[in-house]
């Protein structure tokens, strides 16, 4: 007849054996096997539970408690062993997998946007924020768009100052590489009713021999506003807002009287340098009534202003480039810097 004491003694022996074998286990499979052997359906603990019914009632309770205690102890030991073995395995794995992350055989490199594009994007973003849209146009233009519609007739001395590169199409001097982005103004006004708020960035051309400060092909951005009641004061304010957004609020602007055939009044706009001197940034003015008329816009109803300046120069200024030709050399040692 099995007694509670005998049962308990047997279970103690089992526990001792399990404890010994768990301590020796060094992988998860062994722990799982021990778990199954000592706590599974065919284990001594399970068998002992089956035998409870054969015990006297007074023995049964003590025996039940003993079985539960042993079972809990076993479960705890298995879990602890499992954690120990897993920790050990992880420790061995990570010890074996050491990498020096500064060993870079090859790396994924981000490409770069050209400095002109970066400058152009920044300018576009500032003007978009001020309510402008972006207009574009062809680089090869007719004399009408490049000159005549802009109030620069064939005999005008200003034509000479553009140092135009002509193209062998049409009549002599009829087709040319645009010498400014202003033709985009005309193309826009021809198809769009005012109000018009555009900026037109793009490449322009002059017969300038390439040197450290000149390129025959360079980039400008031009702005055009045509609306009711637009004033020279609006031009001054718009330039000021732009300069604050693009260069910083500490930079001051000023307009100086100047002359362009397509604006009247005309002005140069300067920005202040940290030393207090002024830097000429570009030209601007109120759109000449003849230019509006050439595009079928009544200057008695609509008024507007236009402005323009170089983009390449901004890139040159920002990074203090000592040779503007770097912008067209496409040397990766240069491109990768930005």
């Amino acid at each position: 007849m099995t007694t509670a004491a005998a049962l308990t003694a047997e279970l103690e022996t089992v526990l001792a054996e399990a404890t010994t074998r768990l301590a020796a286990a060094d992988d998860l499979a062994t722990v799982a096997a021990i778990d199954s052997e000592f706590l599974g359906k065919k284990s001594t603990v399970s068998a002992a539970k089956q035998q409870l019914g054969a015990l006297d009632a007074d023995q049964r309770k003590a025996a039940g408690q003993a079985i539960n205690a042993i079972r809990e102890a076993l479960t705890g030991q298995v879990e602890a062993a499992r954690i120990r073995v897993a920790d050990q395995a992880r420790a061995e794995q990570v010890a074996a997998e050491r990498l020096d992350l500064t060993e870079r055989l090859s790396s994924i490199r981000r490409g770069s946007l050209h400095l002109n594009t970066q400058a152009r994007d920044r300018l576009e973003d500032v003007f978009v924020g001020m309510g402008f849209t972006i207009a574009e146009g062809p680089e090869v233009e007719t004399a009408w768009y490049n000159f005549e519609a802009l109030n620069i007739p064939e005999w005008h001395p200003a034509r000479g100052s553009f140092d135009t590169i002509f193209v062998n199409l049409g009549e002599p001097e009829e087709v040319m590489l645009r010498s400014h982005t202003s033709p985009v103004q005309i193309r826009t006004m021809e198809v769009q009713e005012p109000p018009i708020y555009i900026v037109a960035p793009g490449r322009t051309f002059r017969t300038d021999t390439a040197d450290a400060t000149h390129l025959p092909a360079f980039n400008q951005i031009e702005g055009l506003v045509v609306d009711r009641g637009i004033t020279l004061g609006d031009l001054a304010g718009t330039m000021q807002e732009f300069v604050h957004a693009f260069f910083g609020r500490e930079v001051k602007t000023r307009l100086r009287p100047s002359y362009f055939p397509f604006t009247e009044p005309s002005a140069e706009f300067d920005i202040s340098r940290p030393d207090g001197s002024w830097l000429e940034l570009g030209g601007c003015g109120m759109v000449h009534p003849n230019v509006l008329r050439n595009c079928g816009i009544d200057p008695e109803i609509w008024q507007g202003f236009a402005f323009g300046f170089g983009i390449d120069r901004l890139a040159v200024m920002r990074y203090e480039l000592d040779d503007i030709r770097e912008l067209v050399n496409n040397d990766v040692r240069f491109l990768h810097q930005f």
Binding site: G111, T209, P257, Y259, S266, H288, R333
Partner: protein
């Protein structure tokens, strides 16, 4: 235009102030100061000295020894190469340590064994004129009280002066004169401006009978004024005149030429002198040239004229001047000239402009005529000034001038609406305030209230309209005084869809490790044919260099040049992209070339699949509809490794590799994977449409299929067949192995695909999957002849 303060003050004596502040005012008037210089101080260290003795150098013929007294009682020996001094002469002497204007520092030197302790100076050496011949002798020139050793400027009584170099815009012909600048500056400062009197003396000989001037083309010549100066001796002009001319950037030539230039600079009126004795009967005819006429101009060149050119002919019909542009050679003033015909005229600016441009003959005079000289009182004033200066130099003027009128611009009063001017400027000026701004610069105003009648002065040819006058109001009011405002503006700004997508393309390519390059759009002749492309690029009429004389029709040559450049600098490999314009031949009936925006990707050292991979990423980014690659033999590209890019059934570009022969022609090492798209067509075409499909909640089944197919069959065909057979149940298709070699015939390869099947509404049964698998195999076999690899 250069001006000096002292000269400006001859018209407005009250102009005064700090040179920098005056410069700011000039700039704010639209006369931008490009340079400012304090002059008249001469060179520090150059002092008045006396020649004490002149001795021959014992060992040299070309230099002599001079003992000078520089004022401190210690005579110094100097070696000097000039021999025009006499004992007792006062001379400019540069002491040891003086830095000359040319940068040379005077040091004690030994010349052939003799010490030289300084330098005796010529006028040119100290910037006191152009005379470099001999030492400047100052005996009669020093002021009372000058002492030896005194700084030279002080000894000569020179006052420091300010020289401004002003940028004068094309609409300001008046400001191409000292007087014109003075008028503006005086108005801005609120001080008086007036012309000096130019009193003249003349003989009793009347001009009538001496000259016979006819204007046959009144549109060409608005006014022609002439007179005669006798007893001319062509010599050197006075030192003060030479100095002013030199200061303003003109080289003194002789007494007559110098007066001519002086009057032009001072009053803005160009003028011309003829040797009267070379003119037949003093007769001049102003007309247009006849076709085929020629004239030998002052510079000795024979000019072939056209009927648009203005000319002056003599009594025999021989041309004596290219009107307003350049005089004729045979009537030019010479050393033997005794009688001069002096002419001042007003020429039609467009006419002069055309001739100057066609003959490429710019000059100080024609620049003024092109911008519009003054046809009013200024011509008579300039005549008096010339006569005055010439008679001071010994000439004798005859009595009176011939003044023939042609057609000058009308100067009707312009009604100027006060509200319109304020509306243009953003100001709130009253009529009275506007008048107060306009009158000091010579605009005559009448009326008040809402409209002012403004008469524009004759020295402002370019100024005609209400807007022109508004500009003058703004200029004199000061742009800096106009309150900055911002337009109320439109609803919203933004990038167009095209512009946004273009930025997306750029960002994708940058993320793929490509650098954006922007070569100039010019090619050299032959660049296109070297790239196996048609040599049909539009050519430039006046290129700077032959290497930049063709506009590109493809981005390929520029990219290959960029790659070759970088390889030559050992920067390899490179991944480049470019988005820019190409210029295809003009379409029928169009004058402009067919200009398009292309995208190019060039991957040096990589093979065609790398370019296709980039295209696939762009496809994903832009959601291009039905992207297909059609194998093609394309100019410049590798014939067996290239394809046309077809989007929604339309060819939009090319992808593959560059032809090895083209690479060799451009000196590019290794392969170049290539992609070029007509980005304009792609982005303006349909794309970017994405539709939501719910993600299936049911398990998927995977099937791997390896097909053996001939090299001529495209993988795309296999994939299309699988997609067709799989239909909506095909959730994924991926090529994961390409095999050629053992076990396969030559000309065959095996493609292994990973297929995933999944239904949106149920778990597919094994039987369904097996059926789908078989359908795919069958479809591929039917369409491509490919068999399942055993």
């Amino acid at each position: 235009m250069k001006v000096t303060l002292s000269w400006l003050r001859e018209f407005a004596p009250d102009i005064a102030g700090d040179p920098d502040e005056l410069g700011e005012i000039l700039s704010s008037l639209g006369l931008a100061v490009e340079g400012v210089e304090i002059i008249g101080e001469l060179v520090d260290g150059v002092v008045l000295a006396r020649v004490l003795d002149l001795r021959a150098h014992p060992d040299a013929d070309k230099i002599q020894l001079v003992d000078v007294d520089p004022g401190d009682g210690n005579p110094l020996q100097v070696c000097c190469g000039a021999f025009n001094m006499s004992v007792g002469d006062l001379i400019p002497f540069a002491t040891v340590g003086t830095v000359m204007p040319n940068g040379m520092e005077i040091a004690q030197r030994e010349m052939r064994g003799q010490l030289s302790n300084g330098m005796c100076c010529s006028a040119a050496e100290i910037g006191f004129g152009s005379d470099a011949d001999g030492i400047l002798i100052l005996n009669d020139r020093v002021v009372d009280g000058a002492t030896l050793g005194m700084p030279l400027a002080e000894a000569l009584g020179l006052e420091a002066d300010v020289l401004w170099d002003l940028e004068v815009n094309a609409n300001r012909p008046d400001a191409l004169s000292v007087a014109g600048v003075a008028r503006d500056l005086a108005a801005a400062l609120g001080v008086k401006f007036s012309y000096p009197d130019y009193p003249i003396v003349h003989s009793d000989e009347p001009v009538a009978g001496l000259l016979d001037v006819t204007i046959e083309d009144p549109e060409l010549c608005g006014r022609f004024v002439a007179t005669v100066l006798r007893n001319i001796t062509v010599g050197t002009s006075p030192e003060w005149m030479q100095r002013r001319l030199t200061q303003l950037g003109m080289r003194p030539i002789n007494s007559i030429v110098d007066i001519s230039n002086y009057v032009m600079l001072e009053l803005g009126q160009p003028n011309h002198t003829f040797d009267l004795d070379t003119l037949v009967d003093g007769k001049l005819v102003v007309r247009r040239a006849q076709a085929g006429e020629t004239i030998e101009t002052l510079d000795g060149a024979v000019r072939h004229l056209e009927p648009s050119d203005g000319v002056i002919a003599d009594g025999n019909g021989v041309l004596v001047s290219l009107a307003g542009v350049m005089g004729g050679a045979h009537t030019e003033i010479s050393a033997s000239t005794r009688n001069v015909l002096l002419e001042m005229a007003w020429w039609d600016p467009p006419s002069i402009s055309r001739t100057v441009k066609r003959l490429n003959l710019p000059s100080e005079a024609s620049t003024r005529f092109r911008r519009g000289a003054d046809w009013g009182d200024n011509i008579s004033r300039a005549m008096r000034r010339f006569i005055q200066l010439a008679t001071e130099a010994g000439a004798v003027a005859v009595d009176g001038v011939v003044d023939v009128a042609g057609q000058t611009p009308a100067r009707e009063p312009v009604p100027v609406r006060v509200a319109k001017v304020n509306g243009l400027l953003g100001t709130t000026l009253t009529a009275e305030a506007m008048v107060a701004l306009l009158e000091p610069i010579g605009f005559t105003c009448a009326g008040s209230g809402e409209v002012i009648e403004v008469t524009v002065p004759t020295w402002r040819w370019d100024t005609e309209t209400e807007t022109d006058i508004a500009e003058e109001v703004g200029r004199m009011f000061g742009y800096e005084n106009i309150p900055p405002t911002v337009p109320k503006g439109p609803a919203a700004g933004g990038l167009s869809a095209y512009q946004q997508d273009r930025r997306l393309v750029r960002d994708v390519l940058v993320g793929l490790g490509c650098d954006e390059t922007l070569p100039m759009p010019f090619l050299a002749p032959g660049d296109l044919s070297r790239a196996a492309l048609p040599e049909d690029g539009v050519t430039l009429t006046n290129p700077l260099h032959a290497e930049e004389s063709v506009l590109r029709t493809s981005l390929l040559p520029g990219q290959l040049k960029a790659i070759a450049y970088n390889q030559s600098h050992r920067s390899d490999p490179v991944r480049f992209f470019e988005i820019d314009h190409v210029f295809l031949p003009a379409a029928e009936g169009q004058v402009l070339p067919d200009e398009r925006e292309y995208l190019a990707v060039a991957l040096a050292g990589e093979e065609a699949p790398a370019a296709v991979a980039i295209l696939d990423v762009l496809d994903r980014a832009l959601a291009l509809p039905n992207l297909q690659l059609t194998p093609a033999d394309l100019p410049g590209l590798h014939p067996t490794r290239s394809a046309e890019v077809v989007i929604a059934g339309r060819t939009r570009g090319q992808v593959g590799e560059v032809d090895p022969g083209v690479l060799a022609a451009y000196g590019v090492q290794g392969r170049v994977a290539w992609l070029q798209l007509d980005l304009g067509e792609v982005l303006n075409g349909p794309h970017g449409t994405r539709r939501y499909t719910p993600v299936s909640k049911f398990p998927s089944s995977d099937v791997d299929l390896a097909f053996v197919l001939a090299d001529g069959v495209q993988a795309a065909q296999v994939e299309a067949s699988i997609r067709k057979a799989g239909g909506s149940l095909l959730a994924g298709l991926e090529l994961f192995d390409i095999y050629r070699g053992e076990g396969l015939e030559t000309g065959e390869r095996s493609l292994t695909y990973h297929l995933r099947f999944q239904a949106a509404d149920r778990t597919l049964t094994d039987a369904e999957v097996a059926e789908l698998r078989q359908a795919c195999i069958q479809q591929v076999a039917n369409k491509t002849g490919a068999t399942l690899r055993s």
